[in-house]
């Protein structure tokens, strides 16, 4: 087995990212297991999307490094310019689903999905046509192929972005809040689709999400980001049993909410009795 095959597909080592004086990622060391679905969870504003963008090479870290098959992905802010061979190879094998979808609004649904195949591969037209049709069919967007993103609902745009992310049959897919703005049924459907597509194509996935129940059900591995560091990394079973207070507060927040509401209602009933 070669060194690169033994190394984790994607990893970070002491990653640091600042915006001005604000330190968003303080020291993130993380490994993304090959062929698995890793969910990154954490409170809003803890830097989950920033971490994903550093993994994708969209943001240049201020310190530490991102490793793709054991090789540094690109530059840090202090050394050479980005655009290395490793980064180019990584981009050929990776897809990214943006939180805001990032669909090109001047292109139709069909053109958006076909774009990465037309621009970044040498596939013949017939193959591109077949792949785009298949991707749109899977995401139930076949009849909307000629519509522009602005003519679609938020859920349809999300599915279109997902179709574009999967059409290249990537080895790594980075999902930034894939279910943001979706109703519970669609949310479940998206997680089911990710799990199904992952099993079918065998890609490695990193999913940034707030939806803990869905993440626990659909992902093989979880990492909790807290105050710029990875507070927990393990399987859903380990997540459910760990005694770490930060993890526990995150994990038990629905139960805590139910308890608070029950206490509030009991208090209201007591007030009514006294009144």
């Amino acid at each position: 087995m070669t060194e690169s095959a033994k190394a984790p597909l994607l990893a970070t080592r002491s990653l640091v990212k600042r915006f001005g004086s604000q330190v968003v990622l303080a020291d993130v060391t993380l490994e993304v297991p090959r062929g698995r679905v890793l969910a990154i969870i954490g409170k809003s504003g803890t830097g989950k999307s920033v971490l994903l963008k550093c993994l994708a090479g969209v943001l240049v870290p201020d310190g530490g490094e991102v490793l793709f098959e054991g090789h540094p992905l690109g530059a840090t802010a202090v050394d050479t310019a980005p655009g290395t061979e490793t980064l180019a190879a990584f981009r050929r094998r990776c897809s990214y689903l943006f939180q805001g979808n990032a669909l090109l609004d001047s292109l139709t649904a069909w053109e958006n999905v076909a774009l990465p195949l037309e621009q970044a591969t040498l596939l013949p037209k017939t193959e591109i046509h077949a792949r785009v049709r298949e991707a749109l069919r899977r995401l139930e967007l076949e009849t909307d192929a000629t519509r522009y993103p602005s003519q679609m609902s938020g859920g349809m745009q999300k599915r279109l972005a997902l179709a574009r992310a999967l059409v290249t049959r990537p080895e790594i897919v980075l999902f930034d809040e894939p279910t943001a703005g979706l109703d519970p049924l669609r949310r479940n459907a998206v997680f089911a689709l990710i799990a199904h597509a992952q099993r079918e194509f065998g890609f490695t996935a990193v999913v940034v999400t707030h939806d803990l129940p869905e993440a626990l059900a659909a992902c093989d591995h979880l990492a909790l980001l807290d105050q710029g560091r990875i507070r927990f990394s393990g399987t859903p079973a380990e997540f459910s049993t760990t005694a770490d207070p930060v993890v526990a507060s995150f994990r038990d927040s629905p139960a805590a909410l139910a308890k608070n509401i029950a206490a509030l209602r009991a208090g209201a009933a007591l007030s009514a009795d006294l009144g």
């Binding site: 963008k53 994708a56 090479g57 969209v58 180019a88 981009r91 050929r92 990776c94 897809s95 990214y96 943006f98 805001g100 990032a102 669909l103 090109l104 609004d105 001047s106 774009l115 990465p116 037309e118 621009q119 970044a120 290249t168």
Partner: protein, 258 residues
């Protein structure tokens, strides 16, 4: 004060260098960019066809005013026969390239800065990068190449309708003979005048559209403004800087070629 002056100078030099690099990368990325023709055609349509009405309207009114002013001025000296050359040389050597460029910046340049700025803000440019698509080849190259096609054509249209405007003013509304007007233009305008006009059109096209693309592309780097305000600030900046650049470049080219 000296420190502030020095810092401003350094910033200007740095931005000029950044713009030069951006422009070079924009043109260079056209090499090997896939399906460039389709995007080039769209850019030519947006910069050219959509701007044609405003070019024609401004051109004809410029010619009309020029003809009117020149006729009355030359008539005082009994030289109204020179009206044709005066209108033609003023238009071809100066007004047509400058005014056409300013009109194109106002309409097409501002629109493309806003479009690229919104694409930057909504992460569409980041999305292109993650798909392994060079955003320079995809967004900048077709617009720069289109400018090299559109600006000379629009300048030629401006000159033509300007000459017709001058003729309307001097020969239809005022009593100058039409054959005198056209014959004197034919005698006065040389190939060098047309070359100067075209050189200016090429330079203004590359300069202004590069400035507009650069401002849109870097909308997220604007200090003191984010989101929609950053796009608006970038668009204003692109139009103002492009207008200044056209006039400054016009002086430089004229002083070199005259």
């Amino acid at each position: 004060m000296l420190s502030a002056l020095g810092q401003s100078s350094l910033r200007i030099v740095s931005e000029a260098g950044d713009l030069a690099r951006f422009t070079f990368r924009g043109f260079y990325s056209a090499v090997g960019s896939r399906r460039l023709g389709r995007r080039l055609a769209r850019s030519v349509y947006e910069q050219g066809v959509r701007c044609l009405p405003v070019i024609l309207i401004v051109g004809v009114f410029t010619g009309l005013v020029l003809g009117l002013q020149a006729y009355h001025t030359l008539n005082r000296f009994g030289s109204s026969g020179l009206l044709g050359p005066l209108v033609a040389l003023t238009l071809i050597r100066e007004l047509a390239p400058v005014l056409a460029a300013l009109m194109l910046v106002g309409q097409a340049g501002s629109a493309l800065t806003a479009e690229i700025g919104i694409q930057r803000n909504s992460e569409q440019i980041d999305a292109l990068e993650t798909m392994g698509i060079d955003p320079f080849g995809f967004l900048v190259a077709p617009r720069l190449l289109a400018a090299l096609i559109v600006f000379p054509i629009m300048t030629a249209f401006f000159s033509l309708v300007g000459l017709i405007g001058g003729w309307l003013s001097a020969c239809i509304l005022l009593p100058l003979a039409g054959n005198v007007y056209w014959a004197s233009i034919d005698n006065a305008v040389k190939a060098a005048d047309v070359s100067e006009c075209m050189v200016k059109a090429f330079v203004f096209g590359a300069l202004t559209i590069a400035l507009c693309c650069h401002n849109g592309f870097n909308a997220h780097r604007r200090t003191g403004a984010t989101g929609a305000r950053a796009v608006s600030a970038s668009t204003t900046r692109a139009v103002v800087f492009s207008s200044i650049a056209v006039l400054a470049a016009d002086y430089l080219i004229t002083s070199l070629l005259v």
